[in-house]
């Protein structure tokens, strides 16, 4: 008999979107307020793990064909390169630059170099969390 997970699937579809969007919010809230790449990344990893658990792995792999190994490498490179850009201006590694810009509709927005750095951290955290969970899950004993 085929087991039916209607409740789980329906709830997951809604809840995972809430978690995913909250993780993006946390990511942008970061570096001056609570939030940032690490927490946002963990939360996004949580949402993705929920998807993997409630639907089966093969289906999610088809929908999200991401190689998490590459994601870790990419995240590290982004984070390091963001730190390195201060060398161009003759400042020490990891020096942060920021300024305020007027954007249409959004008003004053702060743009900082901490944001791409956080993006790197975000990718690394999502990659590491999912890679370790999926590796254990795929382990056939």
């Amino acid at each position: 008999m085929k087991t039916n997970f209607v409740m789980l699937h329906t709830v997951t579809r809604i809840v995972s979107f809430i978690i995913l969007s909250f993780s993006v919010y946390l990511f942008f809230a970061g570096h001056n307020a609570p939030g940032g790449g690490f927490i946002g990344g963990l939360m996004m990893a949580g949402a993705l793990v929920l998807l993997y658990v409630s639907f089966d792995m093969d289906r999610i792999k088809k929908v999200l064909p991401i190689d998490y190994t590459q994601m870790i490498g990419l995240g590290l490179i982004i984070a390091i390169l963001t730190g390195l850009n201060s060398l161009v201006f003759g400042d020490p590694f990891l020096t942060q630059y920021f300024d305020y810009f007027q954007w249409p509709f959004m008003g004053e927005v702060e743009l900082t170099t901490a944001l791409p750095f956080d993006l790197g951290i975000f990718l690394v955290v999502v990659g590491v969390a999912l890679l370790s969970i999926l590796t254990i899950a795929e382990d056939v004993s």
């Binding site: 190994t69 590459q70 870790i72 490498g73 990419l74 590290l76 490179i77 390091i80 390169l81 390195l84 201060s86 060398l87 400042d91 020490p92 590694f93 990891l94 020096t95 942060q96």
Partner: protein, 494 residues
């Protein structure tokens, strides 16, 4: 402020990240890691030259000034260690091209190799106690992965112990840092040194000092915390064992020397006498282990322990001559020990075993290997005119001058037993009738195996023949670390 100081940490870090993306292209990985390692060697030569001629370099990360932000500090001692790291890293990398199983390369060997070097170089260059902890962790996590490389049951069993002991040591390290932060209110090493000098070193500071000694002693394999080392270094492939044997314990020793010359220098009657006693016991029990073993790699692993004792002995005596000897000894040891482990790997590749009793007669079939090994072996044992002699000579001379006759007697005895066990290897492996038929080894080309080792052997000969300028350099390093105010001023003045 100079960003040159950052490159030994950043270059391998970025290289490791890029190499993760290239995991399915072994050839590109090999070529690019060779190029990067060569670049790192050039960078570290340039760094040592700049610092020797121009004085201590510092970088304030993120432009936060010390003691609030993290600083990287490059003095002569640190940059010398960075240079040695690059030399050994290059030799082991080229050796791994010859011996590493192709399938293993796909499991992130190169990325973690570079992350390990990131952690090692970072530990040498950092000027912040908590940052030192972080770089230790970077180094340890990479070493956890490299040490199980291949995943044989023996490796998994022994690395489990290695992981447990290191995680425990890291926990203690955090406790010690918390003690120091609670007592002094700062984590910048130069600033801690100032605070400790003002508040007199006693009570809680001494507790923290001994805690740190235990932590670094665990990483550096001091008596009685060396028990994990021989077994866990026996497991991994030769290229990795050589890198670990040459470098990793020396990071612990470096941290001991750094903290006990910069920060905890006001109660030497207490701390440095403990260190001296530990040095003697470490040497003696390490060499006894080596004498009792009949396995190529195990003997070498036990020798690491006994020789770590010599370096710490230099710190325990705490005279300029003894410290110069200890620094010379570190340079000599890193080079020779890596070379010897690589020789063990080469003979293992030829004979298929590391058990001394199963090998014999390699002198007839592989004379070049035999004589190169002989040079390194007697250099390790301290026969003039090779590098081991001059460093031990300085240590023993200083011991006699200070009237510490017990430690002098122990170190002489240990030198003799070292010679004995190295000769044991030589007699078993290279003398006697050939155990191998020509068809067994004909397909293994010797020259590619020896090529990465020859520069190391040449270096130990050079270190011995040009002992005068190198000893003058070691004395310069010793003078610099014996005067903490140079370091403190360089960090806090800017």
């Amino acid at each position: 402020m100079s960003n040159l100081l950052l490159l030994p940490v950043l270059v391998p870090f970025l290289a490791g990240a890029v190499l993760i993306l290239l995991r399915n292209h072994p050839l590109i990985q090999r070529v690019s890691s060779a190029v990067i390692m060569t670049v790192m060697l050039l960078i570290s030569i340039q760094l040592l030259y700049t610092i020797t001629t121009g004085g201590i370099l510092t970088v304030e990360l993120g432009n936060w000034s010390p003691p609030f932000g993290i600083v990287l500090v490059g003095d002569m001692f640190a940059s010398m260690m960075v240079l040695l790291t690059s030399i050994v890293g290059l030799a082991c990398l080229f050796f791994s091209f010859q011996t590493m199983a192709r399938i293993r390369e796909k499991f992130f060997f190169y990325p973690f190799y570079f992350f390990l070097l990131t952690g090692v170089n970072g530990s040498f260059l950092t000027g912040d106690l908590f940052n030192l902890f972080v770089f230790f962790e970077v180094m340890l996590i990479s070493s956890f992965i490299l040490i199980v490389f291949g995943g044989t049951p023996y490796q998994l069993r022994e690395s489990y112990k290695y992981v447990v002991i290191n995680v425990f040591a890291s926990g203690l390290f955090l406790v010690a840092i918390a003690f120091i932060y609670g007592a002094t209110g700062t984590l910048n090493m130069a600033h801690i040194a100032v605070q400790v000098a003002e508040m007199e070193q006693q009570g809680v500071i001494n507790v923290a000092a001994i805690l740190l000694l235990i932590v670094f002693g665990m990483k550096g394999a001091l008596f009685p915390l060396y028990f994990w080392l021989p077994k866990s270094y026996y497991g991994p492939p030769a290229a990795i064992a050589a890198l670990f044997g040459g470098l990793l314990t020396k990071v612990g020793i470096y941290a001991i020397i750094r903290t006990f010359t910069l920060i905890f220098v006001h109660d030497t009657a207490f701390t440095h006498n403990i260190i001296l006693a530990l040095a003697g016991l470490t040497m003696f029990f390490g060499v006894l282990g080596a004498v009792s073993q009949f396995d190529f790699k195990r003997i070498l692993s036990y020798h690491i322990i006994s020789q770590v004792g010599y370096m710490v002995m230099g710190l325990g005596l705490f005279t300029p001559l003894a410290l110069a000897g200890a620094i010379y000894y570190i340079a000599h040891h890193i080079i020779v020990k890596s070379a010897l482990f690589l020789f063990a790997g080469a003979t293992q590749k030829i004979t298929g075993t590391t058990d001394l009793k199963k090998m014999s007669g390699l002198l007839k079939t592989h004379p070049a290997l035999a004589w190169l090994f002989f040079i390194s072996a007697i250099s390790l044992a301290g026969i003039p005119p090779l590098s081991g002699f001059f460093s031990k000579f300085a240590l023993i001379l200083s011991g006699v001058e200070e009237g510490r006759y017990i430690i002098v007697a122990v170190s002489l005895l240990v030198g003799l037993l070292t010679l004995f066990s190295m000769m044991k290897i030589f007699i078993y492996v290279f003398w006697g009738g050939p155990s191998l038929k020509r068809s067994d080894y004909a397909h293994i080309k010797l020259l590619p195996l020896l090529a990465p080792i020859i520069p190391l052997v040449a270096l130990t000969i050079t270190l011995g023949l040009f002992a005068e300028p190198i000893f003058v350099f070691s004395e310069g390093v010793a003078a610099e670390i014996l005067d903490p105010s140079i370091y403190i001023d360089a960090v806090l003045e800017e």
